[in-house]
Point group: C2
Chain length 328, copies 2
């Protein structure tokens, strides 16, 4: 089996590459498990730190015409397309967002369409496709009304991937990811970046800024669950996808207040002193336009699973990062 | 006031151009009525048969890069973008549909974005954006799940127009048109073409084929109402658009059986002998994926109106076409 991962040097991409190599096999279109013989990891920056004879690290800009011809071909069985411009950046640089999130994704779909075999394509969408007046708990048949360019671009992809699948050009699955928390590393320009920062920085003894109100409700998923979901999204038989190719994943619905309560419970009450509360209306507007709770009935029917508690998510970060669990 | 109409040589485009020239003025962005001084009518084929000093007839392919620079400029106040590849053709020729319905529309939006003034853009979307499991009467917050490339492409535009409006690049309004019936002329490659044929051809003493079951429920609007809706869509103040830039228009919900009953009532029972019933699964699949009834609450709130009866729609066609009302 030949697998391609785009955005492979990103946080989730690298985790996925590691998980795929560790798993060693995936199901093919006929539902049979096949050993992964080759994994082509594409990103603008090279994926580093993984040494495996099956891995081929490639640098490339997926939005450049012709960039995919040599990387995706008749030998390709499946593509995990994760390369994207994040929400904050797509909002600031509209053209870059369109170029990567829409034209880049379309170019991948066009490349797959040109191949004789029907390639399985797993990609990520976002809860940012929702907005406007929403019920407290969003059903699967809720209309999309993105309040950001990122959400718009992801929704456009969802439509295109569904139509390419319907036409038999490829076998697509788009997973609407909850906000992934706790991300390691530094804050990025995603509007949701604070959701990791307010946990990660205090645990590392650093200060973090909370730009939204404590009552803000978020729909979250841990990195490990996200990688599990991407792999399950691939493994599902197409016959099971009777409600379409776009799946609102299961997540955990928590408020910022509950997140911080969990942080202080797991670490110490004093850890909260690292957090500064400074409203940022731009971020708050984007984040508040995203729903904080979903039914995700289709995802549950398909076997996707949410984290059980926010404590679990904090502990996953602690285990992965090696940050001290308690300094009190 | 300078107005541009694309797809101006099409059936609806020509009717709109005539209505705009007859009306003589439109409201500008400040809500003030302004005389229409120039109306640029763009289409691949030239718009013919209208003689008016305000009219400038232009031939051009909106999907060609650079084609719009001379046609839409700093003098442009409003654009009615109607140019599109119809549903049947977009399904048969995927690339052409993408080129005109997505890339062409995006090129128009990009042209407007490049201008210093905020141009009002009125365009048409379609009930073909809906599909999958639907309630009998579709609410405004129903998710889009197109079952055709045409519906996919229109939904992508709806998203883009909404985001361009949110960003202030233009002032867009996308009207989700019911199926327009009774169209004059010949059948076209729209999957809904039969809905006009089964009325028009019998009234003209010609034979027509009904490719769907009599129980098929359609969501219809007459050409005159459609033109009214396009103009109202332009005239609405942007402040009124509090539920977004995409509006599911009001229509009339009727079954094919009710349409034929109206035809025989207005003309004669014998007129139905012109209709052959021959199932076409491809057309039936597309048409049956479209909802036959909508709440259209937002449209009603904004002042849009549906036809009162199918009889009204048949009579509108008779009055416009001069076909004999009764030959019995």
């Amino acid at each position: 089996m030949n697998i391609v991962v785009t955005g492979a040097a990103g946080f989730l991409g690298k985790k996925l590459v590691q998980a795929l190599l560790a798993k060693g096999c995936l199901h093919n279109a006929h539902g049979q498990p096949q050993a992964i013989k080759r994994l082509t990891a594409i990103d603008i920056a090279p994926l580093e730190g993984i040494d495996d004879p099956r891995l081929s690290v490639q640098c490339g800009d997926i939005s450049q015409p012709g960039s995919l011809e040599t990387l995706i071909g008749e030998q390709t069985d499946s593509v995990f397309h994760l390369a994207a411009v994040v929400s904050g950046q797509a909002e600031q640089d509209f053209d870059l967002g369109m170029k990567i999130n829409v034209d880049g994704a379309r170019q991948i779909m066009e490349r797959l369409r040109a191949l004789p075999q029907c390639v399985r394509l797993v990609t990520t969408s976002s809860v940012a496709v929702f907005g406007g007046k929403l019920p407290e708990k969003v059903p699967d048949d809720q209309v999309w009304m993105p309040q950001s360019s990122y959400g718009t671009q992801k929704a456009m992809n969802d439509l295109l991937l569904s139509d390419y699948s319907r036409k038999g050009f490829l076998d697509g699955r788009s997973l609407r990811m909850p906000t992934i928390v706790v991300r390691p590393g530094k804050p990025n320009t995603a509007a949701s970046s604070f959701a990791s920062s307010i946990i990660r920085e205090p645990l590392n003894g650093e200060s973090a800024t909370c730009p939204v109100s404590l009552a803000t409700r978020l729909w979250l998923m841990s990195p490990a669950r996200a990688v599990q979901a991407l792999i399950l999204g691939h493994e599902l038989n197409s016959d099971a996808l009777d409600k379409g190719r776009v799946i609102n994943l299961c997540g955990l619905s928590v408020t910022v207040e509950e997140m911080l309560a969990s942080l202080s419970r797991i670490h110490s009450a004093g850890v909260l002193s690292h957090i500064r509360y400074q409203a940022d209306q731009t971020i708050a507007n984007i984040v508040n336009s995203w729903p904080g709770d979903f039914h995700a009935s289709y995802a549950r029917q398909l076997g996707f699973q949410a984290n059980e508690s926010f404590d679990e998510m904090v502990r996953e970060y602690l285990a992965e990062s090696g940050a001290a669990e308690s300094r009190c």
